[in-house]
Symmetry: C2
Subunit: 224 residues, 2 copies
């Protein structure tokens, strides 16, 4: 009988491997929301999938909306922080935007469940999700700030300012269609995000620098 981080003893034997009870609830909910649908998933079904009682689930999340909110926040919080950091960095905007796109597509592509597929749910329009909507809008705005500077530096089309953010989120649709996560995808989208802004510079150098910054291996040549 283990004691969980947030108190209360756990009486049940969890069905899902690894992690705290909270993490297991989030993982089971993410699976059900993305495979059975949000409206079709009850907290009871989530509790069953984890192998805990509903009462234990309510100890961690008061409502199903709270679970969804926690999952959605997890898709934007990291990119938001990275975008703030990159906005404060000196150096050419195309490079900083490239790094952000690679990191963001990597997390969208590598996450166990394709949670971005829930962004278009009409259920998200209620007040409960105002904070998430705000965070995502803030992320979009940071993309736009970097894109704006990159457009000025490249003499590119000002109307393309929103397209890098859109290309990043298109990874959600591609993943849903193909059910795969090709390792070069973040690099392909990052190159596209720069090209729409009129960047014609050295993509190999961008990749090298982003890989270094993010501690990744450099992506396969997007032109190769």
């Amino acid at each position: 009988m283990a004691t969980e981080g947030r108190g209360r003893p756990r009486l049940e034997q969890p069905r899902r491997p690894g992690g705290t009870a909270r993490e297991q609830i989030l993982d089971a909910a993410a699976e059900l929301f993305t495979t059975a649908g949000y409206a079709n998933t009850s907290t009871r079904r989530i509790a069953e999938a984890v192998g805990v009682r509903q009462a234990s689930l309510y100890h961690h999340f008061a409502t199903k909306d709270d679970i969804l909110d926690a999952l959605l926040a997890g898709t934007v919080d990291g990119p938001l922080r990275l975008a703030a950091e990159l906005l404060d960095e000196p150096g050419p905007a195309p490079q900083r935007l490239h790094t952000l796109v690679v990191a963001d597509v990597s997390q969208l592509s590598a996450a166990t469940w394709n949670l971005g597929a829930l962004y278009l749910l009409p259920e998200l329009r209620i007040d409960r999700f105002a904070e998430f909507r705000c965070s995502r809008e803030e992320l979009r705005d940071r993309y736009r700030q970097l894109a704006q500077t990159a457009i000025v530096e490249c003499g590119g089309p000002v109307t393309a300012i929103d397209l890098p953010f859109r290309l990043v989120e298109s990874e959600i649709n591609r993943r849903s269609d193909d059910q795969t996560s090709p390792p070069q995808q973040p690099w392909v989208i990052a190159e596209g995000a720069l090209r729409v802004l009129g960047y014609h510079g050295d993509f190999a150098a961008l990749r090298e620098c982003s890989a270094h910054w993010l501690g990744l291996r450099s992506g396969r040549s997007a032109t190769g």
Copy 2:
């Protein structure tokens, strides 16, 4: 008491303006699916919204899935035909792809309801929707064929082959976020779709030609 095209007298007074009973059912369903959610919408609620009995609704559509299928088909059938036509046309691929993107984003942007927001529903993965999934995949493939030829003609990056289709569908997300349909949007995305493929030619000429082909007024300069 009017007699509908497909037989059976209509006893009720419809609540929605214009169109046949079938069109009114589709419009009411599209509104409910995109604003209340697919799983949250019953055929009973659709019938109520139209102001007809459920029995009348079942005369046109046997199941809720049949309504969704008809709505989804409406989002790809037009672009599919246009793509086939453009693939058969002579002339530079960048021009033909530009025309397809302008037309497709225009219809996604101008439709009364943002039906593309339903593409990511897990409900679509069942066999019932295999035909729709096939049609959308076929549309994606026609985009890729045009993109492939454009890449060769422009000496662009081969890995960008899927990005024009992705940029087109990103209009669904933008529309969901902004709840607006700016008239220049099809032209902005078409220019982006060409830039990702390495096209650096004369965008004004592309716009002129696409506008002529589609019988539209030419889009505002995407660089202006």
